[in-house]
């Protein structure tokens, strides 16, 4: 019982630490690719500390509540994700809960930002919702293929059946894994798909009216969402991990490749991104669904 309570407190905290560390690594790696020295790795943590000591502006009740809704949604998703043997909520229908609760992440930001009444925010939110419409289609097909391949809707069972290097990525379902890998930059909001938070076009999009502690909460939500998206990939396709260290190592590898992609490619336009997302990842994910039906 005591261990369970410790797990409940420990896992969002660990997710926050890993997410913030990833944001710091992100800035450091990009700086090294630019042949710069780069900030210290804990710089995002310093930024969050600073932001919580600043005076923030609220734009109404929904401005606060939407942000809290998004944060709460991401914490709930983290409680359902098994990482390295720790899973606070081992339910039998974990994957479906994750699927529905993940909708709160963009929706809460959209609700909160809409209260800010800035034209840049409305453009950013419309881009964010359209982009999430773009990656939801292949994402749903990928989850469907894994669920029907393993005949279960429990993410813990999926991780358990991949033990001893029977990873999904090396099974007949590898096409779905490739499709997930292709939509991962769009889910993280990284460079070919950083249409939402384009600082040069729309002044950093939905975050334009956030300041002080609201921006701090926004950053924490962003680090949570980075953790969720990569942890799901590791759980579904790379076999989870025996302990936290191996899990973290796998996440780090995926994130490193994502940063390399981020620092090389330019930004796509919205309709180009949508055309890409509904073409190749969707085709691969659809083939994955067919394969999962044929094999089993």
């Amino acid at each position: 019982m005591v261990i369970k309570i410790i797990e409940f407190i420990f896992s969002p905290f660990l997710a926050f630490i890993i997410g913030v560390l990833f944001l710091g690594l992100f800035r450091k790696i990009v700086a090294r690719i630019h042949q710069r020295y780069g900030p210290p790795i804990i710089q995002p943590l310093l930024d969050v500390i600073k932001l919580f000591h600043q005076k923030g502006f609220s734009h109404g009740a929904l401005f606060d509540l939407g942000l809290i809704l998004s944060l709460a949604g991401s914490i709930v998703v983290i409680l359902f994700i098994p990482f390295g043997g720790i899973c606070p909520l081992k339910s039998s229908g974990g994957l479906l809960v994750i699927l529905y609760t993940m909708l709160f992440l963009p929706l809460g930001i959209a609700l909160s930002g809409g209260e800010g009444a800035n034209p840049n925010i409305s453009i950013g939110i419309s881009r964010k919702l359209i982009l999430s419409l773009g990656y939801e289609v292949p994402f749903l097909l990928i989850l469907l293929s894994t669920m029907s391949f393993y005949r279960t809707i429990s993410i813990v069972d999926i991780v358990n059946s991949q033990k001893n290097f029977h990873w999904t990525l090396f099974s007949p379902l590898f096409l779905s894994g490739i499709a997930y890998f292709m939509i991962l930059p769009a889910m993280l909001g990284m460079r070919p798909f950083d249409i939402v938070s384009a600082p040069q076009e729309i002044s950093s999009g939905p975050a334009v009216e956030y300041g002080g502690k609201y921006l701090g909460l926004f950053h924490i939500q962003h680090s949570f969402s980075i953790f969720i998206m990569i942890a799901l990939f590791v759980d579904l396709f790379l076999g989870g991990g025996e302990n936290i260290f191996y899990f973290f190592l796998k996440m780090l590898t995926i994130f490193f490749i994502m940063v390399l992609i981020h620092s090389v490619f330019p930004r796509l336009r919205l309709e180009q991104a949508l055309r890409y997302l509904w073409k190749w990842p969707t085709i691969f994910a659809f083939l994955g669904v067919i394969i999962s039906k044929v094999v089993r």
Partner: protein, 189 residues
């Protein structure tokens, strides 16, 4: 980041946070902005000190007034400055905001920026090199450490002075002035 500073971090996390994560609002007033792109890119990497440009004043706490300030730009500067969350720091960059510089007898630029918004630090020169920006930033760190960078408190305290100067400069306003100048004062200067 210094290992000796850990005790300071535990004692005053807010002050140290303001010190090591200065986010500058990317606002160009004059020709001085040409020195900022080399400062933030590969040649002189400002990000190693935690200084990054942000696209909106709501997220920024450092305002660099780069180059000459025309009357029309001053309106935008004041609006931007008032949108920034406290504590906020301003640095005047180049000789034009200090005393007018080569635009001393221009009809359309202001001479002393600190009559209209409070300034915490000055970087002299025409143009100052990127190294001068880093010296300015380290001086600003020292001021934050000592609690001397109090421009935003001065602005709140002496708001009447700043507002009157602004309204005097802008001349015809679409709204009645907040602190009107009476006749006696007008004669004196």
């Amino acid at each position: 980041m210094d290992r000796k500073n850990i005790l300071k971090w535990l004692k005053e996390p807010g002050k140290m946070g303001h010190k090591y994560s200065l986010w500058a609002v990317y606002f160009c007033t004059g020709c001085g902005i040409i020195e900022v792109p080399p400062t933030i890119t590969s040649q002189w990497d400002a990000e190693r000190f935690g200084v990054i440009p942000v696209a909106t004043p709501r997220q920024a706490n450092l305002f660099m007034i780069t180059g000459y300030v025309s009357v029309k730009t001053l309106k935008a500067i004041i609006r931007t400055y008032e949108q920034m969350p406290e504590p906020k720091y301003t640095v005047a960059f180049g000789s034009c905001p200090i005393n007018g510089g080569m635009y001393w007898d221009s009809y359309n630029t202001i001479k002393h920026i600190d009559k209209y918004i409070p300034i915490d630090g000055w970087i002299a020169g025409c143009m100052p090199r990127p190294e001068a920006i880093f010296i300015g930033v380290t001086k600003l760190w020292m001021m934050i450490d000592k609690g001397a960078a109090t421009g935003y408190i001065r602005y709140r305290k002496n708001y009447k002075f700043y507002r009157r100067n602004q309204e005097k400069l802008f001349g015809k306003l679409p709204w009645p002035p907040l602190y009107p100048v009476d006749e006696k004062e007008n004669k004196n200067g």
